[in-house]
């Protein structure tokens, strides 16, 4: 199988960024700096994978901030620093995630609501739950969760392993299982999928459920990585989640998804903001740099580079287009 163009693009961009970092801000690629910032890249990667699955079905999941924040507050407020209650708290968070996922899925795929509108509504509901659980106040995380999510194995932050595991699982399911192949086919062309006898609506609904489970995982990890997470920790993740999907080369119209590219993009985006911090540019410039990166990402894939490709290999294309 040829390597996807998006993968090549994002890997080259990342390597380029690392070289730029090494020249202009060498400390931002030191191991100490990386191990401090990688957990946040891991979080972006995991929510990005969730968003990817929804985008593959031509949707958008704007309930991400509420979902992540809810997982954070359930994982911190329910146990109240008692390790014994942690597993129950995580199960409770998963239960909330399933409920929100099915709600989104049913609204979008069975009631045919616009994905953006349905998930905004769900987001408001989830924030209602966040306030009900936390009263908007942060709580200190349990020691056990801090060890699991914030700890290190062989000097590598544990959250990296969680992100890699999520990536491996999503990739395997999408690319190597029947259910995953059907999922992608439906995303690419729901009508053809329907004609082929696939259960389009179920697959579409499940995209939102899988996404919620990934958000939940990210939320629980945040609860462990930051010692006293606020009740609104998900807010800053919505834009990056869409950004990494776009940078990873997945079309916003749905279809084929690139989980590995998405995860690499998450590293790219995080390193870029870390680079801006290390160079010490003013806060305003940091925001602009990130916005430019996003614009660059969208530009790379939306400009029709294929025009050039056709010129050079025109004859073959004519045959294919026939």
């Amino acid at each position: 199988m040829p390597v996807a163009r998006s993968f090549v693009t994002v890997v080259i961009s990342t390597l380029l960024l690392l070289v730029v970092c090494a020249i202009f801000a060498p400390s931002s690629v030191s191991w100490g700096a990386l191990s401090g910032s990688l957990p946040f890249a891991a979080i972006i990667a995991i929510v990005g994978l969730g968003q990817l699955l929804v985008v593959q079905q031509g949707g958008f999941d704007l309930s991400l901030p509420g979902a992540v924040s809810l997982a954070v507050v359930v994982a911190t407020h329910y146990p109240q620093q008692s390790d014994a209650l942690l597993s129950q708290a995580v199960l409770l968070a998963i239960a909330f995630a399933l409920a929100a996922g099915f709600l989104n899925g049913v609204l979008v795929s069975f009631f045919r609501l616009n994905a953006i509108i349905a998930t905004i509504g769900t987001n408001a509901l989830l924030y209602g739950a966040v306030f009900a659980v936390s009263g908007g106040v942060p709580s200190i995380t349990t020691n056990l969760l801090a060890d699991i999510a914030g700890g290190e194995i062989l000097e590598i932050p544990n959250s990296i392993f969680f992100a890699l595991a999520a990536m491996a699982f999503v990739s395997f399911m999408l690319k190597k299982t029947v259910i995953g192949r059907r999922f992608e086919a439906i995303g690419a062309n729901p009508l053809a999928g329907r004609a082929a006898g696939l259960r389009v609506r179920i697959h579409r609904m499940m995209a939102y459920v899988y996404a919620q489970l990934l958000y939940c995982m990210a939320g629980v990890l945040i609860a462990g990585i930051t010692r006293e997470p606020t009740a609104f920790q998900g807010d800053s993740l919505l834009l990056p989640s869409v950004a990494v999907v776009v940078l990873g080369g997945t079309s916003l119209l749905g279809g084929r998804g690139y989980p590995i590219s998405t995860v690499v993009s998450a590293f790219f985006l995080n390193q870029l903001s870390q680079f801006a911090l290390t160079v010490g540019v003013p806060f305003s410039a940091q925001t602009i740099i990130q916005a430019l990166a996003l614009g660059f990402g969208i530009g790379v894939y939306s400009i029709r580079w294929t025009v050039n490709v056709r010129k050079s290999t025109g004859s073959r294309n004519v045959e294919e287009n026939k």
Partner: protein
């Protein structure tokens, strides 16, 4: 039978009356001078109520209001960090007929028009802590600021005492351009000469007081600066999750000049032995700023005697080097998200933050 129950009833009612009178007398004896004779209603309006500091502050405000029996109704609204909501909260409270409003104007001058319109409608309105611009008597009844310049000077003096020859300082504050951070910097610069170098981008490293962003910012700063002698932060507890990053990069946690918090005090206790450079100095985090603002609002609305102070000055609280005014405080049995410098008893704070 009937007669005896009537007697009993009489005796009980008599006893109840005596007790009621007694209670009123006691209450009367405790009524503070800022609580006047006129009856009034009061609302506390928060721009953003979503952290434990605000929760404790709100509880402190409520407790202060309860000291004045002539405040017949007390209301609270949380702007949730949304400027639009804060503005409509202020206007709707006034429209509901509340007599006195105490406003934490997080959005700064953006809420001034709403405050001015309420003031022009004849209400007592007291913005506090965050500078909203405008003038006393034109835009609002009274502004009760907090002297952040003083905080900066306290930190500066302490830094001078532990680091007389100068050194590298890292200053972390909240959102970009917030007036609190700028004032604190002014205070420090009043005290510290050019031999003290701020290694952060001017005027301060932006953290939004968000623990996750604080962690990212600190990661970059530690990697960039081989030597950081003192960290100055105006929200100490948000640093607790980030400080272990120093150990991860093989360095000792440096000295820290900041505001107090139970989690920070306990963190210092646990880590000072393994981090030789980790000295701690805190100023009171200023939950009691709201008390002064409420006292002013109540005094103006009920015709009481206004307090003497017009600016809240946060006293120095902990100093790990001299133990003066206090050694580092830690209450392990209570939640980390409370502030032992606050007048509100620690147990009441624990209730306020929902534990």
């Amino acid at each position: 039978m009937k007669y005896s129950s009537v007697t009993k009833g009489l005796v009980f009612s008599l006893a109840a009356t005596v007790m009621a009178f007694g209670a009123t007398n006691i209450a009367r004896a405790e009524v503070p001078s800022w609580c006047g004779s006129k009856k009034a209603t009061l609302a506390l309006l928060d721009g953003y109520g979503g952290n434990s500091w605000r929760q404790v502050t709100t509880a402190s405000g409520k407790q202060t209001v309860e000291l004045c029996p002539n405040i017949t109704k007390y209301e609270y609204a949380d702007g949730q960090g949304d400027t639009q909501k804060s503005i409509s909260d202020i206007k709707s409270m006034a429209a509901k007929g509340v007599d006195a409003l105490v406003v934490f104007g997080d959005a700064g001058p953006a809420v001034l028009p709403a405050i001015t319109s309420v003031f022009k409608a004849g209400k007592v309105i007291v913005p506090y802590r965050v500078n909203v611009g405008g003038k006393e008597g034109t835009n609002y009844s009274k502004f009760i600021g907090s002297s952040f310049v003083d905080d900066g000077e306290s930190w500066g003096n302490w830094i001078k005492s532990i680091l007389p020859k100068g050194g590298n300082l890292l200053f972390l504050s909240g959102p970009a351009g917030n007036s609190q951070g700028l004032d604190e910097l002014k205070g420090m610069k009043n005290v510290l000469g050019p031999e003290y170098v701020f290694v952060n981008p001017a005027p301060f490293a932006v953290t939004n007081w968000d623990p996750a962003l604080t962690q990212k910012v600190l990661t970059a700063e530690i990697a960039k600066n081989a030597k950081i002698d003192v960290i100055v932060s105006d929200f100490g507890p948000s640093l607790v999750g980030a400080l272990p990053l120093f150990n991860k990069q093989g360095k000792s946690i440096p000295a820290l000049a900041t505001s107090d918090g139970n989690s920070l005090g306990c963190f210092w206790n646990e880590n000072q032995a393994t981090n030789p450079d980790f000295k701690l100095f805190t100023v009171a985090t200023g939950n009691d700023n709201v008390r002064l603002a409420v006292q002013w609002a109540v005094a103006l609305a009920t015709n009481g005697v206004p307090p003497k102070d017009e600016v809240f000055k946060a006293p120095a609280f902990e100093n790990s080097v001299t133990g003066q005014p206090k050694a580092v405080q830690c209450r392990k049995d209570l939640p980390g998200a409370i502030y032992l410098s606050s007048e509100l008893p620690a147990e009441d704070q624990a209730k306020a933050v929902g534990n």
